[in-house]
Symmetry: C2
Subunit: 119 residues, 2 copies
Amino acid sequence: MLSKCKCKNIPKAKLAEIISGLPEKAIIDQLCEFFKVFGDSTRLKILYFLSCNEFCVADLSDLVGMQQSAVSHQLQTLRLHRLVKCRKEGTTTYYSLNDNHVQQIFGIALEHINEGFVK
Amino acid sequence: MLSKCKCKNIPKAKLAEIISGLPEKAIIDQLCEFFKVFGDSTRLKILYFLSCNEFCVADLSDLVGMQQSAVSHQLQTLRLHRLVKCRKEGTTTYYSLNDNHVQQIFGIALEHINEGFVK
DNA sequence: TGAATTAATGAACATATATTCATTAATAAG
DNA sequence: CTTATTAATGAATATATGTTCATTAATTCA
């Protein structure tokens, strides 16, 4: 490990500890997928609106200004990642947030963004 | 707004409030970009290692098992998003975390993932 | 000055992904 | 039963993005 590198200012024991502390691939992949979900403006808008109230697909379509199909596809990925849940009433499907972490995540992200203007 | 929708179970006043509360495009785009940075396994690994210690590019290249160029490109994006900072010493560049939110974000994301197994 | 080392950069390529279009499924209403 | 409505799905396309390869820049050392 670290064959070519000249950075020897870290004890081997600590280095081994760091390497063994790397989360296993499955965890990293899940983290990755989780963050990817937030990395799309349409999904972010949907999540914002659902953080205010439950909405049906047609509502969300209007609100985010995107076709029904596009919104439905995005809701599917949000569902698959358990960020939203839905209940059906006749032919309409009402979506709502399923994860209390969404708000926290947004808060931290906004802090980071705001710091960009301060610095 | 909400022309075709039958979901009238929300007062117009509240709806207007919700719509006006939508963060402006610039903010959403920034949020989006911020989360995209975390949506890549190579970058996640880099961030993990940098959360333990500072490392030079060659180190990180070995640690994440990826070519120097790939790591350098990813470090560039991490730098552009102010998640890492660097200091130069001769020809080597040492990178370290620049954002105290990274740990928090990871924590919340891990909570979400773990809940997936409980439910 | 010239060779070696480390990192950064640019172009090309391959893959991933968001959107659109068209269709289907499911339910409600006439 | 037929039509209308709402949402979900699949295929196709266009765009975005990560990695590699090749090169360049900057610094150190002989």
